[in-house]
Subunit: 396 residues, 2 copies
């Protein structure tokens, strides 16, 4: 008999069993009963129900603990999740098993400004490729991250400044229909925070912030192990926090926003100005060679010892650090992870962010506060998107 | 038989029953079963246990819903909590019943700088007075709020800048020992947020911020109905968020802190300067009359139409609004309540705070965001302190 794969956890005990199996691997029924503080009878009957709906399977006798042998329980080997991570200039798609191990993955360059039909067609093509590679017709669920604000409950993008044509587009429902499974949509920052929690430096952290510094700047907030999205789903929008009274006009229409000073686009703009003014020989050479500069080029110039490039990174890190210091005073997190396209300029930037944050926040809040760089690459978004949908499937 | 009053909720179902009775009043066993989604048998057996430990009592037959009559359940009429709200210059002490209705209260001027022995002696004297007034020897629990940082888990004040002598003093244990009941200690801002949630404009709000503007400035954070204290218990310390690169030196040792610009002490300082410079006739007259100025005097001068005083309020409100706008971008709350000693200058300050916040935050986050003044007086701290200890007693 083939199990139906339409199952979902039906109650809180089943949800806890699935989360344990996802995060810890196979466990005996006795171990599950102990960890959940329920009777062995209850554990056994809930496991039986999970087996019935195709979410769990029995995996032989457990190692003896003395007394009667308990049966080992694992997530169903048939579970497959799709994670789709859409960025401003490219996308990654992967398929995972129930424990969110990536089984196959594809990455492709793709400009978000081509609009939702074109970009989603590419994403779905890659999804079908990875599903075919692992021999699966229909996944159990799909998670999608996009680089802009999302109405999580409706599953649509909301007035995304760098995503023309995406506003109000039913991304979640389109992916769900095309892949024939439940789907969820969130912004890339929240998805990356979940990836970090599952497979990165935040593994096991209960209260942390994930700060993404890419073209824009945003923050994922995890409270007591759960993503906090705010009342309207737009929590973590720190790119538009004011850092100076005056400053360059931001895409949001205000001036003085963090993002307009310190985002990747702002860094590229300032690097181009430094190159043209003759203040930075290294950046001028890079501009001549490539025709335009990106934030990564500033990192290259820093590597060549260019003083002006170092100054740009320092200024950027100082502004970001001042905002993070404010968040630390307000939120008192246990860990801050810095991620996004900061490769190359990561450590110089990190040093400045740390300096400002540790100096500006209350000692009680920073005493044991690590501020670290993410070590996950593109896979972070794929794992995070898969984690997001797994949390929904594994919950009642 | 006299019930022991040492009881506590033993499990999550009992905790839900007690919270329902506290927030809704007497309910029938049938209603409790419906609301908790448990069987009537389970509801009845948990109620019986709560009656046994002296937390609940049966209160006669419920109104008929057709069919067999259910029994009405109420919180025990014997429950008494003490709430102690200690401020910088005075303290309020009250005794409440199980639903946190204040039965008796006392307020006394008392300078926090006299140190913990003296101040706590006054607080405990008032506590004994209110307990005697309602004819109770020993309350079921006591909550205490103090105007400075607290290590919630240890129950002590931590390096409190305006509270010399309080650092490390075991406030919680001293109150617990003297009143012969469990006690909890937190900072005044968190306690006021709880009071607001129970009896104020935040009644029923799940995610809100309570911003206290007094001598200092702080913020209580309620997430999903629960106070969020942060990893080290110092979340909400927004008075030391930087609002300007340079500025007056703050008590914390940094410069540019919000509190050093916009707290009550800063406002009194700036008002004194305005009076002495001759820029403000109204403040100059008040200074001559009283010998020194407080934040409240600025409110008086505003009422007299003094342009300089209006400007001081505007500047203060602008800085506070900029910090709140940042918190809105980060946290996306459903409600912001402004409280503290802002009486008199409340509405002028509120208008400025609203203007800046609504202008600087993302429209999605401010669309349905009320920013309102607290309407609770001194009783807010008493009710909040009682609520804090009730949540502990009513939880497993």
């Amino acid at each position: 008999m083939r199990h139906s794969l339409a199952g979902r956890a039906e109650n809180a005990i089943q949800a806890q069993i699935l989360a344990q199996l996802r995060d810890e691997g196979p466990l005996s029924k006795a171990q599950l009963a102990d960890r959940l503080e329920v009777s062995r009878t209850t554990a056994a009957s809930e496991v039986a129900r999970l087996v019935e709906v195709g979410l769990a399977q029995e995996a032989g006798p457990a190692a003896s603990r003395g007394g009667r042998r308990s049966t080992l329980v694992d997530l169903s080997q048939d579970i497959r999740f799709v994670g789709i991570s859409i960025g401003a200039t490219g996308l990654s798609v992967g398929v995972t098993d129930g424990r969110l191990t990536v089984l196959a993955t594809r990455t492709r360059e793709c400009d978000i400004r081509q609009g939702p039909e074109t970009v989603l067609a590419v994403a779905l093509e890659l999804a079908r490729e990875v599903l075919a590679e692992v021999g699966v017709d229909r996944p159990m669920g799909a998670g999608v991250g996009v680089p802009g604000p999302v109405d999580f409950h409706r599953g649509v993008s909301v007035s995304p400044p760098i995503m023309p044509g995406w506003g109000g587009y039913p991304v979640r429902d389109a992916v769900s229909r095309e892949l024939g499974c439940p789907a969820l949509l969130d912004n890339d920052v929240n998805v990356l925070a979940l990836g970090e929690q599952h497979a990165g430096v935040a593994k096991g952290a209960r209260d942390f912030l994930f700060v993404k510094i890419g073209t824009g700047i945003g923050c994922g907030i995890v409270i007591d192990g759960q993503l906090y999205r705010g009342v309207n789903g737009c929590a973590g929008d720190i790119g538009h926090i004011r850092v100076e009274e005056f400053g360059p006009t931001c895409a949001c229409g205000n001036s003085g926003c963090l993002e307009a000073f310190s985002g990747g686009a702002a860094l590229a703009r300032d690097a181009t100005a430094a190159a043209r003014s003759g203040r930075s020989p290294a950046l001028a050479a890079l501009l001549e060679e490539k025709g335009e500069l990106t934030a990564a080029d500033v990192g290259t110039a820093v590597g060549q010892g260019d003083a002006q490039a170092v100054q740009l990174i320092r200024d950027s890190g100082r502004q970001i650090g001042q905002v993070i210091a404010g968040l630390v005073s307000f939120f008192n997190p246990g860990l801050i992870v810095i991620g996004g396209r900061v490769t190359g300029l990561g450590h110089a930037l990190l040093a400045e962010i740390r300096g400002v944050t540790y100096r500006r926040s209350l000692p009680l809040a920073t005493g044991n506060l690590p501020i670290v760089l993410s070590e996950l690459g593109d896979e972070g978004g794929v794992v995070g998107a898969a984690r997001m949908i797994s949390e929904s499937i594994y919950s009642p």
